[in-house]
């Protein structure tokens, strides 16, 4: 590798002086009709527009996936495109973006933007608020946190972590550690769940580097099994759909397992329309066939598997004939899929959210998929699981924010049990307390989001007293909003910081206006490839709307007020950024001035190299005995996350709380299965339903229904329908779809945001609203005993709803 100083640097600097001249935008700005005229790069060349860099915010706050160029004309952000310098999607030159990315301007100018801090003056839920100053709000929050720390201990404070969120994962965690609380309330609906399962089954040095079943070199894969994974919704512009389509053109065979034949599933060779929530049964039956028909790699099993014989004996009972009535998949198709997975090599499995963290059998479903990949000899081979090409090192070495793990006090209880600091104090452990270490959870201890909220009601083992919710609406981000609302009503102190008034704000004590990342210059990221390394920071596209402030500034301000200033750069965010850039060769001013980011070309000729294949000694080093856990000795027969029982060492299938095969008595009254897509290409979880360009494509809450089923109930395409489960009811618009099983319905959650420009309403989160989470079971005892995954499937009955709108 060439020395840093000898590298050629291409910086893209233009017109930054004009930045300060941009008119401050204030008030609630509506979307105007935009007159067509010269836009984008040609307009910049003609001196009619400016270009600024931003990391796209449309996959969530503080993400740095897609670098974008934002065009500003007459002080207004009018257009956006993928930055060709950055190496988005297929690499350098790509200007592509998804639909959301193309609509990003609306997030800045949304009429629903929160502009001022507000304090509650009425009862919780009543919606009576009064404008206050930032000083008043921040002083009150700091005082309350200090008072509660004194009275109930620091552990009484928890933060909501809805999805990966840089501010929360760094500054939020650092604040928790300094304050002394372990209660980082992680969603339990996350890739993290799948990483736990992979780690304890097929190893990896640590949680975030758990061995992968997904092919690291797709161009060498012969069979790709896509299981509950929908990158055409969750990561459209991050390379996956593009690479898969290329591979399909070159002969890759694809089996796509999911209830609805969405975009990429339509390109698969075999579509397996599994009934939602039953993937675990399917995985176990596939494992059964592979073992019974002797399709496994004997050499691998003998040398690298622990307890294979026990697994083989145990799996005998889980035949395709057993799984078929559970999953709705014909026996022959289960055999067909199992035989393909057992014989076509190299084979890789994309394990998605759908099976790992959206069902209460999440752990065993993922573990079985991992075992299939392992015993067929597909791990660590070119085109099989993992074994990706190794990219040359990054040419720009930045530091991550130290979360000050050592500041979190180790209690006597922690010492006694040999736990990581803070674990004994967790209010609702996401994984078993004994399991939480810095190797299994490198960012520190976690409480499950829903369990943490429920502690307010159950007071078991103690109630949380203050929750801080940042860009998360707990009435849509987790299960059973009726219970969540009850908890928020009882919660002592609830603080929300968001760009818009989310439906949980009505229950808050203080609501703080967050600015978007387009109004601050604190978020930077890098992208490394064979060509070189790209670095860029969000440039300010507009001054913060009203009195809105950056989420980063919030933490620094609060820390200073609470006396934690020394650990928070005394409130200076730029000092924090300089610390991260120290030694990178890039300084903050230079970074902030780069309107297209900075690309450092690789001049040493270094190329990606092949990994060491079948390096099983290293791959399985963290596993008991250094072997794949067919019989799991790491977690088996040890306490579950609630300390209410033990975890099985061998695969088990429970099924959702309500299901066709599992609860036939309930199915008699509620004959249809319902679930919802986790990520969707027109929203970011429950947000952006207010964005006009996205809402016009899907104006109403929808439920996909097979036409044959709909006609049976006298429901026409476009009719409003009432959907009732044993737990609640919602109204939605029926949309015909032939590519969904007749006994299955699929929907999309959220819908609380109105869209003012299109005069479309937001919908409530209780019975009679359109928040699908109201339908699902939320008994803590039914959650996954290892990773707290909650079921997202239930049984419903439907009927036409007159005047649904």
């Amino acid at each position: 590798m060439a020395k840093e100083g000898k590298l050629t640097r291409r910086a893209f600097l233009q017109g930054t002086a004009a930045l300060g001249a941009t008119a401050a935008l204030s008030g609630c700005a509506g979307q105007e009709t935009l007159e067509p005229s010269s836009a984008g790069a040609p307009a910049v060349e003609a001196g009619e527009a400016e270009v600024r860099h931003a990391w796209c915010q449309m996959c969530g706050p503080a993400r740095t996936h897609c670098s974008t160029l934002c065009y500003i004309k007459d002080g207004r952000w009018t257009n956006v495109e993928g930055n060709p310098e950055a190496g988005n999607n297929w690499g350098r030159g790509s200007r592509s973006l998804c639909a959301k990315g193309n609509a990003a301007m609306a997030v800045l100018y949304a009429p629903g933007r929160l502009l001022y801090p507000m304090k509650r003056v009425g009862e919780k839920g009543e919606g009576k608020f009064e404008r206050c100053t930032w000083d008043e709000a921040m002083d009150a929050i700091a005082a309350k946190l200090l008072e509660q720390k004194e009275q109930y201990g620091a552990k009484s404070y928890g933060v909501l972590s809805p999805q990966f969120y840089a501010v929360l994962g760094t500054m939020g965690r650092r604040f928790l550690n300094v304050h002394g609380s372990p209660n980082y309330m992680h969603s339990a609906i996350c890739n993290s769940q799948r990483m736990f399962s992979r780690l304890v089954t097929i190893g990896g040095p640590a949680h975030a580097q758990a061995t992968d079943t997904a092919p690291g070199q797709l161009d060498k894969t012969k069979l790709l099994v896509v299981w509950g994974y929908n990158s055409e919704n969750s990561a459209i512009n991050q390379g996956n759909p593009y690479a898969r389509l290329n591979a399909i053109e070159k002969g890759l065979k694809v089996i796509d397992i999911r209830p609805m034949q969405d975009g990429l599933a339509a390109k698969a060779d075999i579509w397996v329309p599994v009934r939602p929530g039953t993937d675990g049964a399917l995985a176990m039956a596939i494992l059964n066939v592979i073992i019974e028909e002797d399709l496994y790699d004997h050499d691998f099993v003998e040398n690298w598997c622990n307890g294979f014989d026990q697994l083989a004996e145990h799996m005998k009972q889980y035949t395709p004939e057993w799984a078929s009535p559970i999953t709705g998949i014909p026996v022959e198709q289960i055999y067909e899929v199992a035989r393909l997975m057992g014989t076509v090599k190299p084979m890789g499995i994309n394990i998605g959210n759908g099976i790992g963290d959206q069902q209460n059998d999440g752990h065993w479903t993922v573990a079985c998929a991992c075992l299939i990949e392992a015993i067929t000899g597909n791990l660590g081979i070119a085109g099989g699981g993992g074994a990706g090409m190794v990219a040359p090192p990054s040419l720009i070495k930045t530091k991550s924010i130290d979360v000050l793990t050592d500041k979190l006090p180790k209690t006597e209880e922690d010492e006694k049990n040999g736990f990581m600091a803070g674990v004994s104090d967790l209010v609702g452990p996401e994984t078993p307390r004994w399991f939480q270490t810095m190797e299994t959870q490198e960012s520190g201890p976690t409480t499950a989001y829903f369990k943490g909220i429920m502690s307010i009601l159950t007071e078991d083992p103690y109630p949380l007293r203050c929750i801080f919710g940042q860009s998360s609406n707990p009435l849509s981000a987790t299960r059973q909003p009726k219970k969540v609302e009850e908890a928020l009503k009882k919660l002592d102190f609830y603080v929300v910081m968001d760009t818009q008034w989310n439906s949980s704000c009505d229950f808050a004590d203080y609501v703080l206006p967050a600015c978007t990342n387009y109004e601050s210059s604190y978020q930077f990221g890098t992208k490394n490839s064979a060509d070189g390394t790209f670095i860029a920071i969000n440039q300010k596209i507009a001054e913060p709307m009203g009195e809105s402030r950056s989420d980063w500034e919030y933490y620094l301000d609060l820390a200073v007020r609470m006396g934690y200033g020394e650990d928070f750069w005394n409130g200076d965010m730029d000092a924090c950024l300089r610390e991260q850039l120290d030694g990178s060769g890039i300084d903050l001013e230079e970074l902030r001035a780069a309107n297209k980011g900075i690309f450092v070309e690789r001049t040493d000729g270094a190329k990606p190299t092949e990994p060491k294949y079948q390096d099983y000694e290293k791959m399985f080093a963290s596993l008991p005995g250094g072997k794949v856990q067919c019989y799991n000795e790491w977690i088996g027969n040890k306490p579950n996350c609630d300390d209410t029982g033990t975890i099985s060492p061998l695969p088990v299938y429970n099924g959702p709380a309500e299901s066709i095969a599992g609860t036939p008595d309930i199915a008699e009254e509620y004959p249809l299965v319902i679930s919802d897509v986790h990520a969707y290409r027109l929203c970011n979880h429950s947000y952006y339903v207010d964005v006009p360009y996205l809402r016009e494509l899907q104006p109403y809450p929808w439920v996909k229904i097979n036409p044959a089923t709909a006609k049976q109930y006298g429901i026409a395409d476009g009719d409003w329908v009432k959907i009732e489960s044993p737990h609640g009811w919602v109204k939605m618009v029926a949309r015909y779809l032939e590519s969904i099983a007749p006994d299955v319905l699929m929907s999309r959650r959220g819908w609380w945001q109105p869209c003012e420009e299109l005069d479309l309403p937001g919908y409530d989160h209780l019975d009679g609203g359109s928040e699908i989470n109201v339908l699902y079971d939320a008994e803590l005892a039914n959650f996954d005993p290892f990773n707290s995954a909650m079921s997202k499937q239930t049984l419903v009955k439907i009927s036409k709803l007159e005047e649904g709108n």
Binding site: T78, I236, P241, G263, A266, E738
Partner: protein, 175 residues
């Protein structure tokens, strides 16, 4: 013959992500809830579980012999000689909708200003012949742009066909 630019829609790569539709709107300043110059259509065939879904992104075809231009009584629609792009002069449009009835694909739409349709982004500053924004934004390269000669080369070896519609001769390949 002068150049003729056109589109290639590879349905084997289109995943119905709608990026092209939204890109078209933001770059051409089209307000939500009004018209769409480009639309992603879907064809679903078969019965569960033997179903196929095909997605097709379509806009103006920039026909070699545009029927819309032929019937326009106001002379508002013209085919550019240098690149074959079919454009509308809204100043001249009288809003009679004749072009809508003449177009084999039902492309023309109408706003208060007159007929509106795709102009390959030349109205928003893209140099004629450069990549329009719908194509540039397509995350899967399902939608491509070029001269008909370039596109014919791209689709050779595929099952792609130039769209046929009698005399109009659309400048679009579909596979």
């Amino acid at each position: 013959m002068a150049k003729q630019y056109g589109f290639y829609m590879d349905t084997e790569r289109c995943i119905k992500c709608w990026a092209c539709e939204v890109a078209c709107k933001q770059w051409n300043g089209i307000k939500a809830g009004t018209i769409a110059r480009r639309k992603v259509h879907e064809v679903e065939s078969g019965t569960f579980p033997n179903v196929t879904r095909t997605f097709v992104s379509m806009s103006c075809m920039h026909c070699a012999e545009p029927a819309c231009a032929a019937v326009c009584p106001a002379g508002a629609i013209s085919k550019r000689g240098e690149d074959g792009i079919v454009v509308v002069d809204k100043e001249k449009c009288i809003g009679c909708h004749y072009c809508f009835f003449a177009c084999p694909f039902g492309v023309p739409q109408y706003t208060d200003e007159g007929m509106d349709k795709c102009d390959c982004c030349i109205g928003n500053g893209v140099t004629p012949g450069d990549t329009p924004h719908c194509v540039a934004t397509c995350p899967t390269k399902a939608l491509q742009f070029g001269t008909m000669e370039e596109l014919a080369e791209k689709v050779s070896g595929k099952t792609a066909k130039q769209m046929g519609a009698a005399a109009a001769n659309p400048s679009v390949f579909v596979s």
